[in-house]
Amino acid sequence: MSLFHDGLRAFAAGTAAACVLYSAIAAPMAPAETHLSIDNFVFKPDAITVRAGTTVVWENDDDIPHTVVALDGAFRSQALDTEDKFSFTFAQAGTFEYFCSLHPRMKGQVVVTP
């Protein structure tokens, strides 16, 4: 049992190290990406903070279509059916409020730091 756990721990540690190494190498090539879900008529999470240059990806996990529309017009998705995705890369720092134009009670916020 303890042997097994030790082995598992070592394996986990190795994997984590590999991940760190991989992301360190991969970082300059693959810009940061953050995934959000739309679930039960809620943007999850409804507020996030990312660094400039991050691509935010929304995926609709509801049975009903939703949209992702910036209040200032910076971005506007098509209607997203179940499992459809929309992404937007936030190049500039600032606070971006958005909502679902079909169900306007659904609101979210992306804070972009430099």
Partner: protein, 314 residues
């Protein structure tokens, strides 16, 4: 006194209503048909016997929807149309209160049209939010159904002495809000109603309820009070909506509010679920929670007699 003021019914308005109701009673006596004292409990048989005409309302057919709550909404729309075709008295026309399609795709509109045309009835539409999510944000809907409409699709017509107004409360919605009519449409409505006498029965139909069923779920219309203010002087106002996929009714003064069932899938009652998303019921229960609405207009009586029938009942 304060309450009367709040209701906006002044002495003149009340007298006009009374005259109008009196006419109704007289007509009923001449017709020899028993008059129900209940505002909404008139049986279909009585309503039909005494009716000047009747019309149908269907709603929320959501053609293109594929999720487990109903993987085949074309089949249930077909069944609804079958029920309508089998009615012993042919309705004068049909209203569709929106969400014809699920995603505003051309083939979804085509499939809906192919089912609805079988009713062989003139059909008047208003869009739901699902009907204006094409790239042109409603262009596809207006090209198909908006030939006689203004703005985002609002329009009015008269039939048998009743004035019908189709309103659009699903366009240009504002973050954090519910449905919206907007200033342009409200100005048009004021103008549309201007010449009508207070004894003209008014039917308003729109997708999202024109009263607040649930603010949390967005089931209401931000500026509906302005629209209802414009119809306050009329003796009989019937408001027909869809959107919430369940029956809901309310009577307030001279205004009867009613929401129709969907022909596709049910939604939960407000506060009974985490979100207003589609409700999956056991397959053998589905046709008990879908349906159509029949409205009988009796000349001179109020209110209109509204009868809902489930798809499951023959």
């Amino acid at each position: 006194m304060t309450q009367e003021k709040d209701d906006g019914i002044d002495r003149r308005g009340a007298l006009e209503c009374m005259i109008w109701a009196g006419t109704g009673v007289l007509w009923t006596l001449v017709g020899g048909v028993p008059r129900s004292s209940s505002l909404l409990g008139i049986s279909e048989a009585n309503a039909q016997a005494a009716s000047g005409f009747s019309f149908l309302q269907i709603s929320d057919s959501h053609i293109g929807f594929k999720a487990p709550a109903n993987p085949n909404p074309v089949a249930t729309l077909d069944e609804a149309i079958g029920k309508i075709s089998a009615l012993p008295q042919k309705p004068a026309f049909m209203l569709h209160t929106g969400d014809i399609t699920h995603l505003s795709k051309p083939e979804e509109f085509d499939n809906a049209d192919q089912a609805i045309v079988k009713a062989k009835l003139d059909t008047f539409y208003v869009p739901g939010e699902h009907d204006i999510i094409d790239e042109g944000q409603g262009k596809a809907y207006l090209e198909r159904y908006g030939k006689r409409a203004q703005g985002a699709g609002w329009h009015s017509f008269d039939h048998g002495g009743v004035h019908f107004v189709g309103l659009v409360n699903v366009a240009n919605l504002k973050a954090g809000g519910m449905g919206t009519l907007g200033d342009e449409q409200l100005a048009w409505l004021a103008d549309d109603l201007k010449g009508k006498s207070a004894s003209t029965p008014i039917v308003l139909f729109a997708h999202i309820p024109l009263w607040t069923v649930s603010a949390d779920w967005g089931w209401g219309t931000e500026d509906s009070a302005q629209a209802l203010g414009l119809v306050k002087r009329f003796g009989s106002v019937t408001v027909l909506n869809g959107h919430i996929h369940q029956l809901m009714q309310k009577v307030e003064g001279t205004v009867t509010f009613h929401t129709a069932r969907s022909t596709a899938f049910p939604q939960p009652a407000p506060g009974t679920a985490k979100s207003p998303g589609p409700l999956k019921v056991p397959d053998d229960q589905l046709r008990h929670v879908l349906g159509i609405t029949s409205v009988a207009v009796k000349q001179g009586t109020q209110p209109l007699a509204i009868t809902d029938s489930e798809l499951a009942k023959t």
